[in-house]
Point group: C2
DNA sequence: CACAGAATGGAATCACCACTCCAGAAAGGG
DNA sequence: CCCTTTCTGGAGTGGTGATTCCATTCTGTG
């Protein structure tokens, strides 16, 4: 989704120019670090674990990154790419209730397939790093902003087409959807059960559907009032 | 809310009987540890920080707790008490839309008052410890279960009174509300702005209101269809 | 008030882990 | 194909932080 992968500057200590081989090594380090840090946690991941998983020597890591925090920043950015990619292609076309419901099914299935262990890659990094410095927090906020944008664009399209009532706010609904997903996954992770995330997403989607101008009798409200 | 504060057994290494003075010291340790671990994070909180903040000597901590994980478990339980207490008395009577909206205002104000820094005490512990062992995860799940119960009871009361439609599910709505709050706070923490948590909570509360049997023209739907 | 168990101080230990150093191999541009 | 720059291996090392030990002082009870 994002060829440059992460930083534009100042994240690496490495020389300005990276050899083809160097780029590959750097990518392997970020990839391995991301896997480990996301599966368990950042604090518990030692540089030596990364070293082994990436198949590099100790000095490599410090050849490409200033220090551990710099590596963590690269991991956050990479995690954002992973999360957004994992939701494609459906995330790019969230402009109908059917697409939104399909997206919901997709993310629920994603969690189910990993036995509800591990949270959202970006969300679990956020929980651990939110108060560990402004640079990490900014990186995380930027990641979520990209995600929110994807959600908002679909809702905005529906809004502009007149499929959502004029008084509906795509921005607010996108935020609510993202929050419902994050909170839902957290509870799902703790209970090892998808019920919380299903409840959270369905409730928010039902709300969105109730703001739909579509005359179809699909909402609970409509069914009730009929 | 909970006099015994946390464990019933096996959390302490301390002798079966605690002196009055011993109880006070133990409480001071848990209290200091909780403050530090919640404000920043668990991994970054050293036993020596706790020692200093609690005004005890190093051996005290190990007199009362097996090891750091055991202390962390006690902190989780204590954090649950703190969170639930901070929402009283409104949390105990969430049996009307007015009460729910008041609760929403209360938790938003709570975040605003701390400049949106730091997440939910229980939520941030959860994000950091969810994959750090089953005992911690169980303790966290238990904490959220207590919270969810409080929310569900209010909604169940409304349901039984007939203020919510028969097809509304208090259990599901309580879960959705808790998830919206957790996800909303996480995003709010990252952005240092209450907008995400307001969006998440309002959207979920609007959904609940739309499941209300109250004839009053208070919902957006009602206003629109009028 | 004696004494057994509990509480305390603080120095010492001990493992662990991020990070450094240096020497040598590969890359790639002119 | 030479020479500069980048890449790599791997053995340190310095600091940190969890945990222990033991001597000493309190507490509460019979």
């Amino acid at each position: 989704m994002n060829a440059r992968d992460d930083d534009s500057a100042a994240l690496s200590r490495a020389p300005a120019r990276l050899t083809r081989k160097g780029q590959a090594t750097r990518a392997r380090i970020v990839d391995a670090a991301a896997r480990l840090m996301i599966e368990t946690n950042v604090a518990g991941t030692r540089t030596d674990d990364v070293r082994e998983a990436a198949g590099v020597s100790a000095s490599q890591i410090y050849h490409y990154f200033e220090d551990k925090p710099a590596l963590v920043r690269a991991v956050i950015s990479h995690a954002t790419d992973l999360v957004l990619e994992a939701q494609q292609p459906v995330l790019g076309q969230l402009d109908s209730m059917a697409a939104l419901r399909a997206w919901r099914d997709h993310v629920v299935e994603l969690q189910r397939s990993r036995q509800c262990a591990g949270g959202c890659p970006l969300g679990s990094l956020a929980g651990e790093l939110a108060e560990s410095g402004d640079s990490a927090r900014g990186e995380l906020a930027a990641g979520f902003a990209r995600w929110e944008t994807a959600l908002r664009e679909g809702l905005t399209t529906m809004h502009e087409r007149g499929e959502l009532r004029p008084d509906a706010d795509p921005q607010e609904l996108a935020l609510a959807l993202l929050a419902a997903l994050q909170g839902g996954i957290l509870l799902t992770q703790l209970r090892r059960d998808t019920a919380p995330m299903r409840a959270a997403l369905d409730t928010t989607l039902d709300r969105i559907e109730s703001l739909t101008t579509d005359p179809g009798p699909r909402t609970v409200e409509a069914a009730h009032k009929r």
